[in-house]
């Protein structure tokens, strides 16, 4: 368990940070993901599947969190949040660009570019055919090329 934690602590933290507006929750949810693994009665499977398993749980956590936040009107608006000192302009710019993508495309892109999942892993996680993943990724990158290039503040 310790090994699992050490290996995936940072990636999962980043995973949650990128998808949620509320930064504070990222650490909580990351721990929750590991707890879910502990509580599940499933035995540890070979390494390759643990990744998919972990990210599947993480995705579920994200959607649950989003649903929960949607019910609470006091929550901070999704697109804008208090800019933390850690985020520089580039990060904000990229975040904005990505948020303009379609949700599924966005997710595929995030999983590929930041979580380094393979096409087949992404396909399995999102329940999509492999070719769909490929074409949508291509489409998303093309769109981003324009989004990132255009309207750039000097």
């Amino acid at each position: 368990m310790e090994e699992l934690f050490a290996r995936y602590r940072q990636p999962l933290y980043s995973f949650f940070r990128r998808r949620l507006s509320n930064d504070a929750r990222a650490d909580d949810l990351m721990q929750e993901t590991f707890l879910a693994v502990i509580r599940a009665k499933v035995r540890y499977e070979p390494r390759a599947l643990v990744r998919t398993y972990l990210y599947a749980i993480a995705l579920k956590q994200v959607s649950a969190e989003r649903r929960w936040q949607a019910r609470r009107p006091a929550a901070a608006p999704l697109t804008e949040q208090a800019a933390s000192a850690h985020e520089d302009d580039a990060a904000i710019w990229i975040k904005q660009a990505i948020s303009k993508l379609e949700e599924m495309d966005r997710e595929i892109l995030l999983l590929r570019e930041y979580d380094d999942l393979s096409y087949s892993e992404i396909a399995k996680l999102l329940h999509l055919p492999l070719n769909t993943v490929r074409s949508r990724l291509f489409r998303a990158r093309l769109a981003l090329k324009n989004l990132l290039a255009g309207d750039r503040c000097q």
Binding site: R9, Y13, I38, A90, A91, I94, L137
Partner: protein, 365 residues
């Protein structure tokens, strides 16, 4: 794009590389893709503090360990903690064993199974036939109007303790009284009482004496005797025979004198043949009848006696209840054993793929 992401197989990747070297459009697209990826890399997130497991996770681990300990393991300790089940099973086994091996139950089984044992002994005493002619044994009976001809039959059911020697004893009696065995059946079914059925012919005069001896072979469960009056039958037969013989004589006489036409002679001869046939028939009947009169028939049934103990009404009812319960248990066990392998087979055939599918489905979710 797949090439850039390292998703192509080595062969395809090599192909792609070769193509890229030449194709301008693809080079541009590749450059675009790479640019986007580089730009995206600009968004970095802070590193979280590394080190020991956070307290929440430690708690979770501890909980799971505790949960594992609480879950009952399929070992002997598990069996012991379920004493109730063990006790119940033991009771059932005891019921079945006691019922099967109790001798009183066996006697009950036998007396129910034995169709020959009547509930109440029947005894009909018949007066000795008056004045049976002395020359009965082995001879032809010539009736006179004062005598009565009886065909005597007797039925006797016994329960014998000493079943093994029955056969020998019976043979001795038969020999002693000059009887014959008409038919004999010996049954030794598994786990039940043995039975002997015999049809014995004894000279009518000796019947009573023989019966006395046979009764000593065991305990008499039932007895009955019958005398069929065949005097009239015999008289009729004799008269008929006399008539037929007379007719025969006359016809023979007619043939001897041979007066009349040929056709008449033929007719007479034919008639004579007929009459002779009838005489033979009647003689046979008479002989059979005489046999039946001179030899009485004893139908004997002997049943082996298992019982040592006498069961009272209450005890019998209790044992009967036990017997019923044990029957039910045995029937259930038998049904389970008979159906068991088939159910197991289907469980494997259908259950295994279903389980795999379910697991797969769960994972996909």
């Amino acid at each position: 794009m797949a090439y850039l992401d390292g998703e192509l197989s080595p062969a395809d990747a090599a192909e792609m590389a070769a193509h890229l070297a030449q194709c301008r459009t693809c080079q541009e697209t590749a450059a675009d893709m790479q640019a986007v990826s580089r730009q995206l890399a600009g968004w970095s997130t802070e590193t979280t503090e590394s080190g020991n497991l956070p307290p929440k996770i430690l708690t979770g681990l501890a909980e799971r360990a505790a949960g594992n300990a609480k879950r009952p393991k399929p070992t002997w300790s598990w069996l012991l903690t379920h004493r109730a089940w063990a006790a119940g099973a033991a009771v059932i086994v005891v019921i079945v064993l006691v019922d099967v091996f109790h001798p009183a139950t066996q006697k009950r089984l036998i007396s129910v199974a034995d169709p020959y044992a009547p509930n109440v002994p029947v005894r009909q005493a018949l007066a000795q036939p008056p004045g049976v002619i002395a020359g009965v044994i082995g001879g032809v009976v010539t009736p006179s109007p004062e005598t009565q001809l009886l065909v005597r039959t007797a039925d006797l059911s016994l329960t014998a303790r000493d079943f093994d020697n029955i056969r020998a004893k019976l043979d001795r009696i038969i020999l002693q009284f000059g009887g014959l065995v008409g038919e004999l059946n010996l049954n030794s079914p598994n786990g039940e009482a043995r039975t002997l059925n015999a049809s014995i012919h004894i000279p009518a005069a000796q019947l009573e004496a023989a019966l006395v001896e046979v009764r000593k072979l065991g305990h008499v469960d039932g007895e009955s005797q019958r005398g069929e009056d065949v005097t009239r039958q015999s008289v009729d037969l004799t008269a008929r025979l006399a008539n037929l013989r007379h007719t025969e004589e006359r016809l023979t006489e007619i043939l001897r004198t041979r007066t009349g036409k040929l056709s008449d002679v033929l007719e007479v001869e034919e008639k004579l043949d007929q009459v002779r046939g009838q005489i033979e028939q009647s003689e046979a009947e008479q002989k059979a009848l005489n046999n039946r009169v001179s030899f009485a028939t004893l139908s004997l049934t002997v049943t082996e006696d298992y019982a040592k103990a006498v069961s009272t009404g209450l005890g019998g009812a209790a044992l009967g209840g036990l017997h019923h319960a044990s029957n039910v248990i045995v029937a259930i066990a038998r049904a389970a054993l008979e159906a068991g392998p088939t159910v197991l087979l289907f469980a494997l055939l259908l259950g295994l793929p279903a389980y795999l599918l379910w697991k797969n489905f769960r994972h996909a979710r």
